[in-house]
């Protein structure tokens, strides 16, 4: 049922958090130029323990606790990249990336172009993102559109342990800067990770469930939500196709268009506010590319166009199975 390009030989079962840790470890082993930097990533192993044990094993020179200053973290990473390093930066929570926004959009994103390729920026900026963990303000944001609108950056998000393991390594190996969005509420979900597989290309979307009546497009935390929705729909006899975009920028429109040409109906799902969220770009491009295939407008499910609410309201704010299926119903009613 899954088109996953990873080999089917059984791997190890682990959480997404552990898979990221294993992926980072392998990247540190593979290339001495890989360095990790961020707040509390050393002894503590990061507030989500994604870097647990790495400073102990690779030393303070390669796994660097940074002063509490995000612009400084990213700005010095730019300098390290200029010196030939491949910095992997951790931003502690989504809501704390904005102090580094200037360095990211004006420096990281533009350096390769500005220098006509002479100064590449092989940098990964890891951001645990999204809601659903009952956190206080600034700990549940989905800033992907802010980065995807920025030329020069690549933006990806993993939705499962296997992708987490592979995509982090691919992102680190890439000579372009990558905003790497980790769905923090899925850190504890387990999956099979085959460490000998050949991973799918980083920017390739994946059909994670085939169907015929409508296409659900998601990435990161919402992939599971969409799979659950498709499962529920199947019980009512409706076959929904689910695509895990994996890459938010660039978008793999070929995989998307193939699906839309089959189903004729699309629902996009993300946690970020709808207005100018990824759903907008998807809707625009799909309508451009598949105008005659669409039976209904692309419908968008997302967070409200409000600040992220206090925890006791987040279940309203966050798209869930029901809101996805409601949109599917509306799409089918066209």
């Amino acid at each position: 049922m899954s088109q996953s390009q990873t080999s089917t030989s059984a791997g190890r079962r682990m959480t997404m958090g552990k898979a990221l840790n294993a992926g980072l470890r392998r990247a540190l082993e593979a290339d001495p130029k890989v360095v990790l930097a961020g707040e509390d990533i050393g002894k503590l192993g990061g507030v989500f323990r994604i870097t647990e044990g790495l400073q102990k094993d690779f030393g303070e020179d390669r796994v660097i606790d940074s002063p509490l200053a995000e612009s400084g973290i990213v700005g010095t990473a730019v300098g390290m990249a200029m010196r030939g390093y491949r910095p992997v930066v951790e931003i502690q929570f989504d809501g704390f990336v904005y102090p580094a926004y200037n360095q990211i959009v004006a420096q990281v994103a533009k350096m390769h172009h500005r220098s006509r390729g002479l100064v590449p920026m092989p940098m990964v900026i890891r951001i645990p993102f999204g809601g659903g963990i009952g956190a206080v303000e600034h700990h549940s944001e989905s800033p992907e559109a802010y980065f995807a609108h920025t030329a020069g950056l690549k933006v990806v998000s993993c939705s499962n342990a296997s992708d987490a393991y592979w995509m982090i390594q691919q992102a680190i190996a890439l000579d372009d800067p990558v905003i790497f969005l980790e769905p923090k509420r899925r850190y504890h979900e387990k999956g099979e990770v085959d460490e000998d597989a050949t991973p799918a290309p980083l920017h390739r979307a994946r059909v994670v469930r085939e169907g015929t009546e409508a296409t659900l497009l998601a990435y990161g935390p919402m992939v599971k939500t969409c799979l659950d929705a498709a499962e529920a729909a199947a019980e009512e006899g409706r076959a929904l196709e689910v695509i895990d975009l994996r890459s938010v920028s660039p978008l793999d429109m070929q995989t998307v268009a193939t699906s839309v040409q089959k189903t004729g109906r699309v629902v996009t799902v993300h946690e970020a506010p709808v207005n100018l969220g990824l759903g907008a770009e998807l809707a625009a491009r799909i309508t451009e590319q598949c105008f005659y295939s669409l039976e209904a407008p692309v419908l968008r499910v997302g967070g409200f166009d409000t600040p992220y609410p206090p925890a006791r309201l987040e279940d309203h704010y966050l798209p869930d199975l029901d809101r996805v299926l409601d949109a599917v119903d509306r799409s089918l009613s066209y």
Binding site: V47, D65, L68, S71, P99, G134, D305, T306, Y317
Partner: protein, 370 residues
Amino acid sequence: MSEHSGSSGGELVQLLTPQGERIDHPDFSYSGSDDEIAAHLRDMVLVRRIDAEATALQRQGELGIWTSLLGQEAAQIGAGRALRSQDVVFPSYREHGVAWCRDVDPLRLLGLFRGVDLGGWDPHAAKFFLYAIVIGAQTLHATGYAMGLEKDGEVGNNDPERDAAVISYFGDGATSQGDVNESFVFASSYNAPVVFFCQNNQWAISEPIERQSRIPLYRRADGFGFPGIRVDGNDVLAVKAVTEQALERARSGNGPTLIEAFTYRMGAHTTSDDPTKYRLDDELEQWRGKDPIERVKAYLSRAGAIDQAWLEELQAESDALAVRLREDCLTMPDPDVAASFENVYAEQTPYLAEQQAAYAEYTASFEEGN
């Protein structure tokens, strides 16, 4: 390389030793009576009790997270009680003790951590602005507010009822943040009536102060052209004396001061944190000997200003407070989803109104459906 001194040494202002002895300082003195000191003790005991109850509530799943002030009571009560009613506070997220001094109902603090709101008190009424979670942001707000005070002529009138100052709280880690340094630039450039109150509790989550600075933090002010001073943050008398002087300096139009309250975070960073991963029991043990409450108890007992009965009464008061807080917390109503859409704008947009209506319709249909 590091010049961090311990809690003693000539540069640290101290008026009450860990053993509870009052000592003199050439520049600062505490002028209050023993009754006032007893009032500080009461404040500290009560906020420690509030803190403990909140921690318990979090452990029981009633709060999402809690930021404990354990160990920092003197820094907060000393500074909080130095304020005049017209002064204005810009806290970070750990200033429950200062909130207490501003008569903010502790229940309102719990609301934020329970996730029922984003800060449930009235910042203007309390002259205590909302907690700031993004490190350092509030120091610029404080500076701007202070610039406003100046424009309004609320500074330098030689009128103790009117002249006002602003105080902004932040941690040792925060001093690395661009915003905090920019607030120093602006405060200095405009000579704004603001006191920067840094609680150096030695840790920014897992990072020791040495990661942020290799010299004592109070000296940061030197680089920006205004005075910095280090005070024993576990000494409520010294903190109050130092803060009063800095506030008065601001109110009278002499500009900003940086206070570094040298203290210690006795607990975890938050209830989500596990400090055993990064720090040694030794250190904790050493700081236990400098407890901000014990030294005041020792002094007041020795001075005969309090006795066992007084302490028992305080104990009873603090237990009652905790019971009340717990009850109120458990019965705090969940917010209505309408709150998500309200106040996003002062002038609501048709778009958001439609979104709200559509969601209401959706949930309604859903309820019918069930």
